[in-house]
Symmetry: C2
Subunit: 417 residues, 2 copies
């Protein structure tokens, strides 16, 4: 799992992700017309993370950039993404790019959930003629009032989690979205939707076991609806469970095993290539789904040309959407090959620094004291950070946060003071 | 100023506003396809207020409702509104209505800012053929990194405020948006924009004095650009200040006085009708701008037919947008007359209950203890609430919040348990 030490946070990570994207695609900051952030990691309850990111654009004189932060647990990034895509399609679009940032640090109190944490920021550029295209009509949401995972203790960074309920909520929302999306597809295309209609399925990935269960759940849905994607042998294996009520089926271990067995070959083909980064970095909250999607681009790249990919975004509380993308190789610099090479996933995973567990626990103790606190200076130690990474210098007596940027390979440096 | 007693909060207020809107316009909850909330009053850092509102829609089986919460100080409601409008114009629109909710409780620590507080929730319906039409191309934003007002102390509901800086930031953002919007207008229409181009100007209204200063600032801008909206005598009065730098001009008392004097007749005509509710209820954060706009509809109603109205939304931190609306009387039930009669502003202002200051201070003390707390039961006293108002019953040991609805005049009752 990845985690922030005392010199990084969701603001520094997102500043790093945005500057990196602009540099690597050679985009003038003036070309950005909208910037949206999805996050559930609150460092300030009023001032958006987006306003911190404006520092990157103000230098070039571009302050006319719409968008703020979107919030609902791990779903905020998807909300931000939809907002940006809708903007590009609306009459208020002014021809410039949209930029979406998902940034979170997932930390848990001591206990079984703690090792499921993670930390990441992901930046995505939105504009016309992209290699990743939204099939906007193929999209279904399930939103409801639930207390499965939430953060009501405002003084603590840790969530209140009902793990069992959260898993049930996730699967229930998944079922609901899949049925609703299938229904919309059938109305539109005049034929049934099943897992055969998409080459890949990408899930919000708090931990891989839930991803396995989720895909098996879609296979179970297909079996129940007698879809041709599942052969007769598979349907036979799953038919004993067809009479279970929804609630029973979410808890039934035999169904879980049987459906995962039937799903196995499809899982390896349609889901396996999406699991690399989430498995390596842990839960990244809003960034999790898009880290899974990045794994797919890394693993399959140009083989994705012409393929449909279904994504499932889930945020506790709860908000969920299943939506469809069509991929095409596209034109440089916005081609799948270029995206894969810019992301450079293998190299980045390789270059990570490994901490002993004690060091992680020690860091968590320090972070507990610093959460919501003022008047402290960090070690300013950026030796483990990659060149170009932003890091936290201090939080002053007025709670103002100051950052610096580690020199790039070419020696340039920026100071947040 | 309005404030929440221990039985109300941003969740209960928004539930009241949404159910009231659906009932008064006779809208089936199934007709809502998107619901966005703007708020800076955080009761949970992860679970959105939108998910609480889903309780109203789940009953009818409608869980396919996109949208979450948008956050940046008082600007969140405007972000939510833009998101909803863009959705209706996008390919992902499915023909249903969007619904936008602005809900906030503005409370300050003891000191000079405290009496500027307020509390409100406003719900707005978004769809085609509306009497209030967005002129999407006539819109300019100013977004920047500032620490003028923010909420970094996570355990406290009170903000950190630099009042002087906040006012300067507001006026600076106003200048920037006005110039940018004028520039866009000139490119589009081939003529100068000035205050003469709009019948009314509506401002985010933390307190009325800032609204007066803001409009005077636009008049000063017009004078500087030699717009025909200001006569020669006015320009002469303001010309001594033309050499001030931006920073000097924001602090200059003589300029303030002179520009307000020149602006006076325009202010009475173009701004006066928008100030009723903010003056009476106090700062409402995200709802403030839309309460000012509601004042205009209340005061001018059908006289607004064909008129252009310019709105200025500001959220500290900072995010600001100036945008243009065109009004037309429209068709029942979505006509300006119907909206004015449904809002029933005079009656609502008249029916308020007056508290002595001691009772308010006592309530603030109680709220300080309960902010972010669990395991308490409220008085459940809803005697002062209007029929149909939601109120808080308890927060249990798991921090879960339970609400009830005060019986409507016809005796129907809903319980949140």
């Amino acid at each position: 799992m990845g985690f922030c030490t005392e010199v990084e946070d969701v603001i520094s990570m997102s500043m790093t992700a945005v500057t990196s994207l602009l540099e690597k695609y050679n985009i003038d900051p003036k070309q950005i017309g909208r910037l949206e952030v999805g996050s559930e990691t609150v460092l300030d309850k009023s001032k958006s993370i987006k306003t911190f990111l404006m520092q990157i654009f103000e230098e070039s004189g571009n302050t006319d950039i719409e968008g703020v932060d979107s919030t609902n647990a791990c779903y905020g990034g998807t909300a931000a993404l939809f907002n940006c895509v809708n903007w590009v399609e609306s009459s208020s679009w002014d021809g410039r790019y949209g930029l979406v940032v998902c940034t979170d640090s997932a930390v848990y109190a001591e206990g079984p959930a703690r090792p499921t944490g993670g930390a990441a920021a992901i930046a995505m550029l939105v504009g016309p003629d992209a290699p990743i295209v939204f099939e906007s009509k193929l999209r279904a949401s399930h939103m409801a009032h639930a207390y499965d995972f939430y953060k009501p203790n405002l003084a603590s960074e840790y969530p209140v989690v009902d793990g069992k309920l959260s898993q049930t909520c996730y699967l229930m929302a998944l079922d609901s979205c899949y049925k609703n999306l299938s229904h919309k597809y059938e109305k539109m295309e005049g034929k049934k939707f099943s897992i055969a209609e998409a080459a890949y399925f990408v899930f919000h990935s708090p931990y891989n076991k839930l991803v396995q269960k989720s895909f098996a759940r879609l296979v179970f849905n297909d079996a129940l609806s007698d879809a041709s994607s599942i052969d007769e042998a598979g349907k036979e294996k799953l038919s004993p469970f067809s009479s279970l009520t929804g609630d029973e089926s979410y808890q039934n271990r035999d169904l879980e095993k049987a459906s995962q067995l039937v799903a196995k070959p499809f899982y390896d083909e349609k889901v396996g290539p999406t699991t690399l980064i989430p498995k390596q970095v842990g839960n990244m909250y809003t960034a999790s789904l898009y880290a899974a999607f990045a794994s797919l681009i890394h693993n399959k790249t140009t083989a994705l040309d012409g393929k449909r990919v279904i994504l499932f975004s889930y945020g506790s509380g709860l908000s969920a959407t299943m939506f469809s993308l069509r991929l095409r190789e596209g034109q440089h610099p916005f081609s799948l090959s270029k995206i894969a090479s810019v992301m450079n996933v293998s190299e980045k995973l390789k270059s990570r620094h490994e901490f002993p567990p004690e060091k992680f626990v020690e860091t968590m103790h320090l972070m507990e004291q610093r959460y919501g606190a003022n008047n402290f200076v960090t070690s300013k130690d950026c030796s483990l950070l990659a060149p170009g990474t932003y890091y936290l210098l201090e939080v002053d007596s007025k709670y103002r946060r100051f950052y610096a940027k580690k020199a790039l390979a070419n020696g340039s440096l920026a100071n947040g003071h």
